[in-house]
Symmetry: C3
Subunit: 306 residues, 3 copies
């Protein structure tokens, strides 16, 4: 644990959502109940409130999700996707940009390529910051929506066997989800090529590591597949092609349990072929919908707390 | 007719607006009445509804028009103009992007550089898709607004002589409008250089083709001018300069009927000099306004049908 | 004064905000009272109205400020930041783009790289145009918010000593603010390197020019610092480094009056070190907030006048 992580746990999540480390089991239960409520609610509790969607790295999926979450609650979004064109090119720091935006808005969703960006933003500004991805660091709302998906699809988290497969070394998604699952009585299994193993800091006694899915597909309650993060690997696009060796097959699904939940944070690039989309166990598009509700919960909680 | 066109006619236009081929005369009458009604209506029938404006090719005009149409009806728009920055560069397919967006939105306006994009989108998603231009294919809402403009300016379509001038080979606008006019008792005349003639598939017995405007300006009820689509021609910017030879003049207008309607889908690059803008017969900016109403009608029809 | 400036003063500011030259003292008093009122008002006087944010040059700060101002008043904004991708590349003129947008919107905020852009837009369109920066010309709403900041921080403008420091040659901000302050009984002092002096056309008898801040820091009521506009200087990024010589220090602040107001239009690139941010006299982030209120006032005035 570096200073960054130890510091951020001291900030309450309703003040700024920086890391999954800020959340206890009871925080999560509270957030998920709020998400359930908002998903079914016709009122507009955030009418008149404004959110800045400040994306230094573009992400249609995440920015659209927050955009839709805010507007479904009656609020307004200022989309700032083109940061590279603007003041930044005149040399403005992240801190000054954030302090400017807090004059116009009630909260800021921030995606940035620097790992310390979200915490730097929190230090200088008074409106809530929601970390939507800081470099190779965290993407806490993704991990929370993943957990919410499991909870909604299986009605429980305790007692489940969760298998994560793919690039476990670079995927911030699986790192954060692993942290969250540690708070529950879940059995974790990791499937990856030896070169892309889950880093030691996330491992615990009792975790099982595998080179392929064969040994574990049959009794997994959840199978969480991720793509190879080529853009974060040394060598970039020229990095060796591990991914397609880990493409899921119809045969794998035939061996899996009838109530298994198949998840993927998307985008996918071949790990799950489209022919599996119609399988009722394929939950990755429902996962997007659950993400909308979790982000509605986060926005409502964070904006209600000012 | 290729498979694409024959398939799409089987999809009702209230489910997805893909092609002018989906519209009968009575569909059009219904849509135009709806547009008339909405243009004058203070209510907000789409309050609480969300539209994704998914533009793989940028188009200020079309995206702004849908944006304004949706917000005038009380709805919200998620603008996604920067597709090339985002998940797509991580290798995401159009199908996955569309399935993600349908989790957040009630309808999707799609402009894409591939001719089969709109139909691919419809196959995988349940919310209505509105085709806002698919490569060299169709741009059905443009053709519908062109027709609506004629109907509003002349109170009828039957019995009119409609002259189209310019690049009739590459212009998807004139192709689609031609298809629509075939449903009415309109006389069509085509003016273009021999190299840019209307393709044979759009021609019918009785159509007249001309090299210049002289012979037809005097008894045209509608003159529809288009620019040379240089970006779609072989040779691109180096393609021969046909366009300015077809620039309309004050002299042409002097010979034209007092109640002629001069139209252009815009942008123009010299085909109609600005000195003609103040001529009351110049309808191309009113055409933009009519376009707003037609798109309001389409959104209301499509979103009301879920 | 060139033709451009003399022409625009004939246009009432409620029809189009082009230049500070359009504003009298009583216009300003009226606008500032309106800003005060709107800042405290819960109603949404612009509900149902639509603004186009047409930015040919990107500016997160200015576009976000207008976006937030419009939405706080209940209106909707169509953000058009990507002008370079769209119709413009098909050769469309500013005039045609503006005439198209007026079909969809109730007002247009325009930032453009050409000095005559705002006035060209006004000539062809009927909805109000708000100039948000035209090349090296004006940025009137910035100057008005600067003046409003002084008025709010000091309760008066008459009688104050206002010192401007930095690049006084290229900064359109200090030029326009200087013009506004001429309408009040304010004493002006200019601090810059000899190469970056305030142009003669903005100088009056009684103005004092200095090479450094030492002689004037002690009795300044307002210190307005600007950055070197490298992007507007001959030689661009290779232009000599004047700026850091003019960085303000803690020592300067120790010598300044207790009620001095320290302003900067932002972005800054070192002229004011962040260690001074916590000084209560540092008003540059409050200046952003005041800017929101002034722009709310301008939008309400301009849109109310149709």
């Amino acid at each position: 644990m570096d200073t960054y992580l130890s510091t951020e746990t001291e900030i309450p999540w309703r003040r700024a959502v920086l890391s999954v480390d800020q959340f206890s089991r009871s925080d999560i239960a509270e957030l998920f109940m709020l998400a359930d409520t908002l998903a079914a609610m016709p009122q507009k509790p955030l009418a008149g409130r404004t959110l800045a969607n400040l994306f230094y790295e573009a992400s249609t999926r995440t920015s659209s999700s927050f955009f839709a979450a805010m507007t479904r609650l009656g609020g307004t979004v200022i989309p700032i996707n083109e940061v590279h064109y603007s003041s930044v090119s005149k040399g403005e720091t992240l801190e000054d940009t954030v302090r400017t935006l807090e004059c116009y808005t009630d909260a800021i969703v921030l995606r940035h390529y620097d790992n310390d960006a979200a915490e730097r933003a929190v230090r200088v500004c008074e409106v809530p910051i929601i970390n939507a991805g800081n470099g190779t660091g965290e993407h806490p709302t993704q991990a929370l929506l993943d957990l919410y998906t499991i909870a909604k699809e299986r009605r429980t988290i305790d007692g489940l066997t969760v298998t994560m497969m793919g690039d476990l070394k670079h995927g911030r998604t699986v790192h954060s989800l692993t942290k969250l699952l540690r708070m529950y009585d879940a059995r974790l299994r990791f499937v990856s090529p030896p070169e892309l193993r889950m880093p030691a800091e996330y491992l615990r006694d009792g975790d099982e590591q595998y080179d392929d899915l064969d040994a574990v597909i049959e009794d997994s309650d959840v199978l969480y597949v991720t793509r190879v993060q080529r853009e974060r690997m040394q060598g970039g696009d020229k990095a060796p092609a591990f991914d397609f060796d880990y493409a899921l097959t119809r045969d794998d699904m035939d061996r899996a349990r009838d109530d298994m939940v198949l998840m993927h944070p998307l985008p996918r690039v071949g790990e799950i072929p489209t022919e599996l989309d119609s399988d009722p166990r394929s939950a990755y598009f429902r996962q997007m919908k659950y993400g909308l509700y979790v982000r509605m919960g986060i926005l409502a909680a964070v904006l209600g707390s000012i």
